[in-house]
């Protein structure tokens, strides 16, 4: 089962990432222990030089992981033809116990990577490498996450058996199913709809305010996280129903299929981008007081918050268009 081009590509990207981060880790530890910007010692000069290498390297690794999430889902959807009972990505991910953990880990890595990239971006704009120790501390923390992603992916792909009968999205995402997916699918449409638009509205307002006035960064981050959860819950509870024009099909993955004109990408790409930007706003707020970043952080905060606001707005608009265009009547 491993001889799938996309699988090989994903594993290669993760393995390369782990190798690169592992190579960077000793340097990161050295920076954390020995970095002293006031010193003119040879070691300090070498460290300063090397930060360029490792910053670029980690940026590359994490940027690849952002794309890898898309490839992972795309590939899972495509492989559904190979499993008995699978209709979309859900069946593929359900084919063994590691599928969904791998996806969730990849998603977590996506957001963590985005936050690290934001911190890194701010740091490179400061004259005196203000966040270098924090940055590399976070990097050391990211290494196990990436290694987990690689491990889960490996376990998942290596244990894929074509003769396993998996369950289709219809059974996992239905009101009767047990667990979080079932509970979210069983959410009544009307309160879910209200919560969905309320959370998105608050997130857009908070991000818009932050973009304009450059304050309340933490609020924007929190609102983004809540809006993300509400958006996913809303997709499960009613949005998918409107897209399929079917009162019982709650699957959040089938909307990625060509049969539904890839509408899911229109939803998920802005949603993930907006959430990542919103969380990144929060990630850089602790460093507002750093002297050399006094001018940088508000500017970057404003830009990220604007991305978040536009992203959530786009998501809400796309979702609304989908609901209005649908022939399904869910709420009288």
């Amino acid at each position: 089962m491993l001889f799938q081009p996309a699988i090989i590509a994903l594993l290669m990207a993760s393995a390369l990432g782990v190798a690169m981060l592992a190579a960077a880790a000793p340097f990161a530890v050295q920076v954390i222990r020995r970095w002293d910007i006031r010193s003119g010692s040879e070691l300090q000069l070498a460290l300063e030089r090397r930060t360029y290498l490792f910053s670029t390297l980690v940026t590359f690794v994490l940027a690849i992981q952002l794309v890898a999430l898309l490839l992972f889902v795309f590939n899972a959807d495509r492989m559904a033809v190979m499993f008995v009972g699978a209709m979309c990505a859900v069946g593929t991910l359900n084919a063994n116990a590691y599928g969904f953990p791998a996806l969730l880990a990849q998603m977590a890595l996506f957001f963590l990577a985005a936050m690290w990239l934001a911190v890194n971006h701010v740091d490179t704009r400061g004259r005196d490498y203000p966040l270098v120790k924090i940055k590399y501390g976070l990097l050391v923390a990211l290494l196990p996450v990436l290694a987990t992603v690689l491990g889960l992916q490996w376990q998942y792909f290596a244990n894929l058996q074509a003769d396993v009968i998996t369950s289709c999205c219809g059974s996992l995402f239905s009101g009767e199913a047990k667990g979080l997916s079932g509970d979210l699918s069983a959410l009544p449409a009307k309160p879910a709809l209200i919560g969905f638009y309320a959370a998105l509205g608050i997130a857009i307002a908070a991000a818009g305010h932050t973009a304009w006035h450059r304050t309340f960064g933490y609020a924007t981050a929190a609102a983004s996280a809540v809006a993300f959860a509400a958006a996913i819950a809303g997709t499960l509870s009613f949005l998918s129903l409107y897209i399929y024009e079917h009162p019982h099909h709650h699957c959040p993955f089938c909307i990625l299929k060509p049969e539904y004109d890839w509408q899911g990408y229109w939803l998920y790409v802005p949603l993930f981008a907006a959430t990542a930007a919103g969380l990144s706003v929060g990630a850089i707020q602790p460093f507002r007081r750093v002297a050399s970043l006094a001018a940088v952080i508000p500017a970057v905060t404003g830009r990220l918050a604007a991305v978040a606001a536009w992203g959530f707005l786009l998501f809400a608009a796309v979702a609304s268009v989908m609901i209005l265009r649908s022939n399904l009547i869910l709420i009288e």
């Binding site: 001889f3 081009p5 996309a6 090989i8 390369l16 360029y52 290498l53 890898a68 898309l70």
Partner: protein, 377 residues
């Protein structure tokens, strides 16, 4: 204009000029890079087109085929078997099919003899284009086959099946039921297998389970299973070829590393001067990043367009033997052009990622050179 875009534009401008100053070196890299993309993309495009073709062909086949087994081997369907199935809910139609293989010693190939759903006049054959080519037959010609019982049968070629269907019909011989039974001495009332059409794809498995229950000596073959098998075979072949090509990938990464680290004295001087006039290390890295992006994009575009032409215009002449398989009556066919988003994304991971990874360290080395050290040398 946005100052950020303005800055990147100037950087790209500068990078292009600097690339043009070292034409031979960069063209060499571009050629190798493009060739790598070309080879990988050819494999992917070809396999994807084959997969599409298989799906398109299987679209018209019955959802379930029922074979009778005796001692684990495929056997004829006896009279009355079709009736024993009875009415199964969801089955739109069921019919006994007649087909078999015939070995023709003249061309040393196997033909598939089949009785089609439509009428064919007794004494005439409709033959596949592969067979017509191999035996030099045209409509109106007479052809004779010696049957397995030793008797000689003469048929008139009524028609040659259209070239468009060659992938499925290269070795096909269509004849009337009467001729078929006489030629193979097929016992009356017997059939080769049974084809069932099921309207709702979600009911196919239930229908198959009911069939297996009602007729324990039968084996239902589902279209979706055939499709799945084809998909895994093609994916597996593609994966094998890509794994074999991994060596080339490594070689390419080494070449890219070498090219990027072997900075000429002139280049070093250039970077030294840039830094002396106020460029930062970050700017030099950005410039080099643009250099890599431009080279990658150009190579990707060239390689992909080349692969597209190779596969769909020249019928993938280079990879045919590995990916297509082999047969005496091999169909000649041109593939329908199809581009797969997943394949493009995968290809990107296979080429641009190793390239970027390989040039990172050399770029950094170049970018952190001290201006005075270079200019003094």
């Amino acid at each position: 204009m946005n100052p950020w875009i303005e800055k990147q534009r100037s950087l790209i401008d500068f990078t292009l000029a600097s690339l043009a100053r070292r034409k031979t070196r960069n063209l060499g890299l571009l050629a190798v890079y493009g060739l790598l993309v070309f080879v990988l993309a050819s494999v992917m495009l070809f396999v994807h087109a084959l997969r599409q073709e298989a799906t398109a062909i299987l679209d018209g086949t019955p959802e379930v085929i029922l074979q009778r087994m005796v001692a684990g081997r495929h056997d004829l369907i006896p009279p009355g078997y079709l009736e024993r199935i009875g009415r199964i809910r969801g089955v739109q139609a069921k019919e006994g099919r007649l087909w078999g293989y015939y070995y023709d010693p003249v061309v040393k190939a196997n033909y598939t003899f089949m009785v089609p759903g439509h009428e064919i006049a007794p004494g005439t054959l409709h033959i596949g284009p592969g067979l017509a080519r191999e035996r030099g037959l045209a409509p109106g010609n007479t052809v004779s086959f010696r049957s397995y019982s030793g008797r000689l049968f003469a048929f008139t070629v009524g028609a040659v099946l259209p070239q468009k269907s060659e992938l499925a019909s290269a070795d096909l011989v269509l004849l009337s039921e009467q001729d078929f039974r006489a030629f193979f001495e097929y016992p009356a009332g017997h059939y080769t297998d049974i084809a069932l059409s099921v309207a709702n794809p979600q009911e196919v498995r239930t229908v198959a389970a009911k069939l297996a229950n009602a007729l324990p000596d039968s084996r239902p073959i589902l279209r979706e299973e055939v499709l799945r098998t084809y998909a895994s075979i093609f994916d597996w072949r593609e994966g094998i070829v890509l794994t074999v090509l991994a060596g080339a990938l490594f070689a390419f990464a080494i070449l890219a590393w070498d090219k990027a680290s072997g900075l000429s004295a002139e280049e070093k001087r250039e970077i030294g001067i840039l830094k002396a006039i106020g460029w930062e290390t970050g700017d030099v890295i950005k410039m080099k990043f643009w250099e890599g992006t431009l080279v990658s994009l150009a190579a990707f575009l060239l390689g992909y367009v080349g692969a597209y032409l190779h596969v769909f215009r020249f019928d993938a002449a280079l990879f045919e033997p590995v990916l297509k398989g082999w047969a005496v009556l091999y169909p000649r066919f041109s593939l329908t052009p199809a581009i797969d988003g997943l394949a493009v994304a995968t290809l990107f991971f296979f080429t641009v990622v190793p390239y970027t990874a390989a040039v990172l360290v050399p770029i950094w080395r170049a970018a952190t050179t001290d201006p005075d050290a270079v200019m003094r040398a």
